[in-house]
């Protein structure tokens, strides 16, 4: 004869309760959009080549993006691929984030990332007493250096800079060096294997406020196509 009792029912109920769980930590997530960033164009036989979509990154919705005109040539590497602005509505202060790439035909032509960091540091007249932080970074297939510094420049007495100087490691670079006869991949791979810099500059207090978002943006920066 089977006996049903209260203990049995409680045991079954507890088993059901134990299997129920949640992984939601309750923190609200910032809404971001995936922005596509195109590579450089070049003048070939008097006409501008088209700009190929090369990179993507996750960008908060309230950042403002600026791109150059489609008719403009970006063969000059001092011009950024695109710029993002973070505006503070109350003070009208802003942070400017610029993305550059530096295509190279050969691996020997690349400039060491340390040189890029030194160039940024040399742009300062004085560095704040807290000094600069530089460290090695590696993400999304890039390796390079990260710089966080603040100080004064001739036109900006209170300037804070967050910067990333990135390159592809040798094996990725070689994987993106196509056979000379492979014309279709040539232009795209030239852009894909280019060195990249991401530089954010603005007033120190605003930079502090947005540092986390800027770092998340930089670390989400990646090539659209994976390395072959």
């Amino acid at each position: 004869m089977i006996h049903y009792n209260l203990n049995f029912i409680l045991l079954i109920l507890s088993l059901f309760c134990l299997t129920a769980c949640t992984s939601n930590d309750g923190t609200p997530k910032e809404i971001k959009t995936v922005e596509i960033i195109k590579g450089r164009n070049f003048l070939e036989g008097g006409t501008l080549t088209s700009r190929l979509p090369i990179y993507r990154a996750k960008v908060p919705l309230d950042w403002i993006r600026y791109d150059c005109l489609p008719s403009e040539s970006l063969s000059d590497t001092t011009k950024p691929l695109c710029t993002f602005h973070i505006l503070d509505k109350e003070t009208k202060d802003s942070i400017r984030i610029t993305i550059h790439n530096f295509p190279s035909e050969k691996i020997e032509h690349r400039i060491p990332v340390k040189e890029q960091i030194n160039r940024w540091l040399n742009q300062f007249e004085t560095i704040s007493s807290q000094g600069s932080v530089t460290c090695q970074e590696s993400f999304n297939g890039f390796i390079g250096m990260y710089l966080s510094t603040a100080g004064s420049q001739p036109k900006a007495p209170d300037l804070s800079v967050l910067g990333w100087a990135l390159q592809l490691p040798k094996d990725h670079y070689h994987a993106l060096t196509p056979h000379p006869s492979d014309e279709t991949s040539k232009a795209k791979y030239l852009q894909m294997r280019a060195d990249v810099t991401i530089k954010a500059q603005g007033t120190s207090w605003l930079m502090q406020r947005h540092q986390e978002a800027i770092e998340a943006f930089a670390r989400s920066f990646e090539l659209i196509d994976e390395i072959p």
Partner: protein
């Protein structure tokens, strides 16, 4: 017969059989654990236990035991329900295990940041990869123990596994192959064995590298002692530039260029992996290495070569370096010591270069091996001693006079002579710690200079003769001599630097245009003792390839990572490699970033994390997922992705992770439901206690 079958049926479903199976399984597990610990090899232990057919038989035994123990209860009653539910759960779990064993997948994915893969490497399974110019690469499963034809359907290419070696050591032959020196564009040249009996090493050939230039001598040598052979070669060389390729006992090759002034450019090609490694037509035409002789390039020389070059040119290089230092000192208007100033004045008067002439004087003096300069010197004749204080001149004269009469070769003789001459400060010399003749003489010179005011005046007119000797005595008082100005123990780096500067100054190693020498690279395999740790073994297979009457045999070593070289066959029609078998999965995995999470304020890793983009190739859906050591990603169709390890980044390579991929096709309809049913059965057994005696 029927009785036997019935007894068997009862035994297989009995408690005794269950206990036997549990005991045997426990024994297997114990043996497996001990073997793994002893051999440090999971593969070795698994081969003898978990992957052994007997172990599968045990699982089947469990299945049968549980099934029959349930059937023995027939006809079933209500009180059997909890028991039957429990056994049904167990049977489902065991079925899940068996389905996974026969139809499941276990493999690994090695991914670099920024890259993606959709093929896993199957553990312990090997394949032969065939590539050609047109079609995608194809893999054929290879069982190394089953020699014979490897099934291949396409274009009449027949592959036949001929031999298998469990473990080999691999190296490469580059410049020297089959006892001949091979350089692209030149005929193979014979090799010479350099042994002690041969006084002179004969050249292998000559070749003209620049139009209208003298042909260069080419040497191809095998030796036990590279240093000795190079030294011999360096000494026997003439004014003609020479190229030498010297192979040592480790099969490493030193390629050496010696130009007419004696400047050396050298490069070592390791047998383990010659560098650079160049693929010709993506490997279809094989592999090669090159050596580029560039203008004024003197690469740092390795020990055995460096010593020989330094022995010949070291002194000249040091003298040149000293000369440069003196020039630097003069250009920065540093105050010179009195003897140097006196020489400088003499140079100014005679329009002679100061640094060069002074270093030449020092070198000449050092070559004479005398404590003082022993003879007349053409330039020293013009020295004007009136420029220095009279007391210094007196002291220099006395030093020259006293030291001239001494036997300078032995410390005891020096002291004995000085005692005989009643030198008043001889006791101080005896107490000197360093009784080396040079140290004694330096101290004696300084004593003479300190006591010069107490010494009788010399005939100053004597100084028209032996001016060089007096000047050298003056230099000794300031401890100036080639041996004291030159650094003593030089590191290899310093020696290399000195030689580079020296040969640059002589305009040595001037090339009209760079010369590139190339040679093919071929692998060389050596059979070695198999290791117990099976993971460390590198198996080798021999494959015979046939197509349309053409036949070729090739040896291929196992490429565990699958990123190694493919070797050409049949005149570059195909490429072959022997690698781990890969299997496509319905997902593409892209690694964005891998992180090492450290313990707070420490560099000790606490965990590893990887951000992945997982694309389901069946519907194109993308999922961003972070997996870590303790956070596995599981898909709806039974694929599990574990993060196994991480390799830090370098200039060569981005961070890499190894992900273990496991596919259990029966998980959701057998294993997990079975576990729930089993739990329910156990709960019912405890709660309802159907077998209790009232």
């Amino acid at each position: 017969m029927g009785k036997f079958l019935f007894s068997l049926y009862r035994f297989l479903g009995s408690l005794q059989c269950a206990l036997f199976l549990i005991g045997t399984t426990a024994l297997f597990v114990i043996v497996g654990t001990v073997l793994e610990s002893f051999s440090e090899s999971h593969l070795f232990a698994a081969k003898l236990t978990y992957s052994h057919p007997l172990f599968s038989l045990l699982i089947w035994g469990f299945f049968l035991n549980i099934l029959l123990s349930s059937l023995r209860r027939y006809p079933f009653k209500v009180k059997h329900i909890p028991f039957l539910i429990t056994h049904l759960g167990l049977l489902m779990i065991l079925s899940g295990v068996l389905v996974k064993v026969y139809f499941g997948t276990q493999g690994t994915l090695t991914l670099a940041e920024g890259a993606s893969k959709q093929k896993i490497t199957r553990q312990g399974e090997m394949a032969l990869l065939v590539a050609d110019h047109k079609n995608p690469d194809v893999e054929y499963r290879v069982d190394v123990h089953a020699k014979g034809p490897i099934p291949r359907q396409k274009d009449g290419l027949h592959l036949h596994l001929v031999n298998h070696y469990p473990h080999i050591k691999k190296s490469y032959s580059s410049w020297i192959k089959d006892h001949k020196l091979h350089i692209f564009g030149l005929s193979p040249m014979p090799i010479v064995n350099d042994d002690d009996e041969k006084i002179e090493i004969p050249k292998s050939s000559r070749a003209r590298f620049y139009e209208g230039d003298t042909p260069w001598d080419i040497y191809a040598i095998m030796t036990h002692d590279v240093g000795k052979t190079f030294s011999k070669l360096y000494q026997q060389r003439s004014d003609t530039p020479l190229l030498a390729f010297i192979q040592d006992d480790h099969q490493d090759i030193y390629s050496i260029f010696i130009e007419k002034h004696g400047g050396v450019s050298a490069k070592k090609f390791l047998a383990e992996k010659p560098s650079p490694f160049i693929s010709l037509d993506k490997g279809f035409k094989g592999y090669a290495t090159e050596w580029i002789l560039k203008d004024k390039q003197m690469d740092p020389l390795e020990k055995p070569l460096l010593e020989s070059v330094f022995q010949v040119h070291g002194k000249a290089a040091l003298a040149f370096n000293l000369q440069e230092k003196i020039k630097d000192a003069c250009s920065t208007s540093k105050e010179l010591s009195p003897p140097l100033w006196m020489w400088e004045m003499m140079c100014l008067m005679s329009s002679i270069p100061f640094a060069e002439s002074f270093v030449a004087f020092l070198t000449d003096w050092d070559d004479s091996r005398g404590w003082l300069y022993p003879k007349e010197h053409a330039l020293a004749k013009h020295l004007d001693f009136s420029l220095i204080p009279k007391s210094d001149l007196e002291a220099s004269l006395w030093s020259a006079t006293i030291l001239e009469d001494l036997d300078l070769s032995d410390s005891n003789e020096i002291l004995h002579n000085l005692e005989q001459k009643e030198w008043p400060l001889v006791e101080a010399l005896k107490k000197q710690e360093d009784q080396n003749p040079n140290a004694l003489l330096t101290l004696l010179t300084q004593q003479i200079f300190s006591a010069s005011h107490a010494l009788p005046l010399q005939m100053i007119s004597h100084i028209n003769e032996g001016k060089a000797k007096i000047f050298s005595a003056y230099l000794r008082a300031y401890d100036i001599h080639l041996s004291t100005l030159m650094p003593g123990n030089l590191s290899d780096q310093e020696k290399n630097l000195l030689l580079t500067h020296y040969f640059e100054s002589k305009s040595a190693l001037e090339m009209r245009e760079p010369i590139t020498l190339m040679t093919s690279i071929i692998p060389v395999f050596q059979k070695v003792q198999e290791k117990i740790k099976l993971e460390d073994n590198v198996p080798l297979i021999q494959v015979v390839v046939k197509k349309a009457g053409a036949l070729q045999s090739i040896y291929l070593d196992y490429d565990q990572g699958g990123n190694g070289l493919k070797w050409p066959i049949l005149d570059g029609q195909y490429l072959l490699s022997f690698k781990a078998l890969t299997q496509a999965i319905p997902y593409k995995i892209r690694l964005r970033t891998a992180r090492q999470i450290n313990y707070p304020n420490s560099t000790q890793p606490h965990s590893y994390e990887s951000d992945l983009i997982i694309t389901d190739l069946r519907n194109g859906e993308e999922l961003e997922k972070t997996i870590s050591m303790n956070e596995v990603h599981e898909t709806w169709d039974g694929y599990r992705f574990y993060l196994a390890s991480m390799t830090p980044p370098s200039l060569e390579s981005a961070k890499r992770v190894q992900i273990v991929v496991n596919h259990d096709p029966a998980k959701y309809f057998l294993t997990y439901p079975g576990a729930i049913i089993l739990t329910l059965g156990i709960v019912l057994l405890f709660a309802l206690r159907p077998y209790r005696h009232v």
